[in-house]
């Protein structure tokens, strides 16, 4: 079994992994950049090692610094989390060469699934349907534009090495295509160190449904059902849930079979996710078409949704499998129970084009509600910087039915005050309350088209009685005229404004 695990990440996922280590009796080692010396993920780990300056390239993406940190702390394993180096085959190989167990798939599987070109080949060879597209041999602007015309517009330009929407652009018209291609290439180069581009036909209004798979080194591969992540803004997921509100049992069976075939075709080990686009334009039935999008060869941001609905601990299973142990489940022992739904809380301002927000969390109070789980990497007083992803927290609600889970999530989000910077919470609440979302009709383009209006903050002034509260806060040391004696009752802070 792993004894000392280096967590090559930051934020909420590093906190999540450190907690799993604590339960398993594994010593956890955090790493940090100069911007994160006092961050939550450093505070919860057993030890911490400085990597370098704030820019990710000099810290969380610095393979030499990470291997040095593992060596000096005598770590025997590395968990890459998500993002950063999690899908970097060279990093996985470097860990193996340094005799460190990499908590993830073999470098070869990362490489084959990491490149969109070879991932498509793998899928096709495994009999998994793919969206029409190509990676032009001629990577010049003209070459990419020619490929766009061959595939047919509208189309997507994507970073071949990418994920998370970075380096991805939509091309609807031939005019201006070159500058879109250049922008995609720059962003791909900056985010992944590889500007190779791939083009693909755009399927209008698809649903994003992904299958969680898990394989061990003993030849067992299982799936843990689906997550639907169709609520996306410019290809960044906002809400994820399981089960999908649309999938039929027959379609679920076809998709989970396909995902396991794809995983087996690359000799996959550990946790992975096969992402599919599902075309429900002709309705949900056993023949509904679906297309392999990509395989994420790592733990997903939205993994708690699966944990809640299947009653499992995916990070614990990752650590067991990386230690050479068999999977703790069989396919027959796994089932979906109830409904789980997650909202990603980002430091961004929806009313200003979702510009990322940086600043100090003057007030930050996580709700404590029944059936609500919060995975976060920030505390009150922390500073949200400009160097990394703007994800503050994930709020996951679990209940017997989808309607109850949505109501529970809305209630928790309304009771999650974050002051000092703008967040997307009011936007997410507005989205959760739309008829389209309630009916499960939100597709991956909804927030960029019919649902784009949700970004605007309804220009409503606060009710007038709050004026007295602001004044009271301003003059905190002065007694408030006509106010009841100041009392301190911790339950009030937890139960929310509508407590009776």
């Amino acid at each position: 079994m792993i004894e000392r695990l280096l967590i090559a990440n930051r934020g909420e996922i590093a906190v999540r992994i450190a907690r799993a280590c604590r339960e398993l009796g594994i010593e956890s080692i955090a790493v940090y950049s100069d911007a994160d010396e006092r961050a939550a993920h450093v505070a919860v780990a057993d030890r911490a090692v400085r990597l370098g300056p704030a820019p990710a390239a000099e810290s969380y993406l610095n393979i030499d610094a990470l291997l040095d940190a593992a060596r000096t702390t005598n770590a025997d394993a590395v968990h890459p989390g998500y993002g950063f180096l999690s899908e970097n085959a060279a990093f996985a190989a470097a860990c193996r060469d340094a005799n460190l167990a990499f908590v993830g798939p073999p470098a070869g599987a990362i490489a084959r699934m990491g490149s969109k070109i070879s991932a498509r080949r793998v899928a096709e060879s495994a009999g998994v349907p793919v969206v029409p597209g190509q990676t032009p041999a001629d990577q010049s602007d003209a070459g990419i534009v020619a490929a766009l015309e061959t595939v047919g517009l509208p189309a997507l330009v994507k970073a071949s090495a990418g994920g998370g929407g970075r380096g991805m652009r939509e091309v609807r018209d031939r005019a201006g295509a070159e500058s879109i291609v250049q922008s995609a290439r720059r962003e791909a180069q900056a985010a992944f160190g590889d500007g190779t581009l791939y083009v693909e036909r755009l399927i209008d209004a698809p649903h994003h449904v992904e299958i969680q798979v898990f394989a061990d080194t003993h030849g067992t591969a299982v799936h843990l059902f689906e997550r639907e992540c169709s609520a996306q803004r410019r290809h960044q997921k906002v809400i994820e849930e399981s089960p999908s509100p649309q999938l039929t049992p027959e379609l679920r069976q076809r998709m989970t079979d396909a995902a396991i075939r794809a995983a087996r075709a690359v000799g996959y080990v550990n946790a992975g996710t096969c992402e599919f686009l599902v075309d429900f334009s002709q309705g949900a039935h056993s023949e509904t078409p679906f297309y392999f999008l990509e395989m994420n060869t790592r733990l997903q941001v939205e993994h708690p949704v699966t944990e809640q609905v299947a009653g499992v601990d995916l990070v614990r299973a990752q650590l067991l499998v990386a230690s050479g142990e068999p999977l703790p489940w069989t396919e027959q022992s796994l089932f979906q129970r109830g409904h789980a739904i997650e909202a990603r809380v980002y430091a961004e301002d929806p009313a200003q084009g979702f510009i990322p927000q940086a600043g100090r969390l003057l007030l930050y109070r996580e709700p404590r509600h029944p059936g609500v789980r919060i995975d976060s990497g920030f505390r009150e007083g922390d500073t949200v910087g400009v160097h990394y992803d703007a994800l503050l927290a994930k709020v996951i609600a679990t209940a017997e039915t989808r309607d109850l889970a949505i109501a529970r999530l809305v209630s928790a989000l309304r009771d999650f005050p974050i002051l000092g910077i703008r967040t997307n919470i009011p936007f997410v609440v507005r989205l959760l309350e739309t008829d389209a979302f309630r009916a499960g009709r939100v597709h991956t383009r909804f927030l960029d088209t019919d649902g784009a209006y949700l970004a605007a903050d309804p220009d409503v002034a606060p009710p007038d009685f709050l004026r007295d509260v602001v004044d009271a806060a301003r003059n905190e040391r002065r007694p408030v005229e006509g106010a009841a004696p100041i009392s301190w009752d911790p339950w009030q802070g937890i139960r929310g404004w509508n407590a009776r």
Binding site: Q352, P356, D389, T423, D459, A484, Q492, A499
Partner: protein, 134 residues
């Protein structure tokens, strides 16, 4: 109505208000003119700060002069204009990068670039004026 209100401070930045028998919880943080308020899932910046309203609504100065500033600390990735360039609404004047995302800075009006206050590769602070138009 105000005589029916009772406000009590029940924690750090947490206030309970009773209006006509009904309890509301409000959270307040910040100081001076930079006040934030949370109530019922909604967030207000500069609430009741008459004449200042929400900073997001007061962006464009009046008159024929417009300056575009950095919305947040960022790196200047590309500068597409130079002094004397003619620009039109929605033209991308420059591209910033922050949190690994590209942020295009676009013109909101017709004009001519009067000054460019940044260079590619430069780190700019929030509020720094990047380009002036007239």
């Amino acid at each position: 109505m105000s005589d029916s209100r009772v406000i009590s401070r029940i924690g750090d930045g947490v206030y309970r208000v009773i209006v006509d028998g009904r309890a509301h919880l409000a959270y307040v943080a910040g100081s001076g003119s930079d006040v934030w308020l949370h109530w019922n899932g909604r967030v207000f910046h500069h609430p009741f700060d008459d004449g200042r309203s929400d900073q997001r609504h007061a962006r464009r100065p009046a008159g024929g002069h417009q300056s575009l500033s950095a919305p947040m600390p960022a790196t200047v990735l590309k500068v597409h204009v130079a002094v004397g360039s003619a620009v039109h609404p929605a033209d991308t004047l420059l591209i910033l990068e922050a949190m690994k995302m590209e942020l295009p800075i676009r013109s909101t009006s017709d004009g001519v670039v009067k000054a460019v206050h940044c260079r590619e590769g430069e780190l700019v602070q929030a509020g720094a004026v990047l380009v002036e138009l007239e």
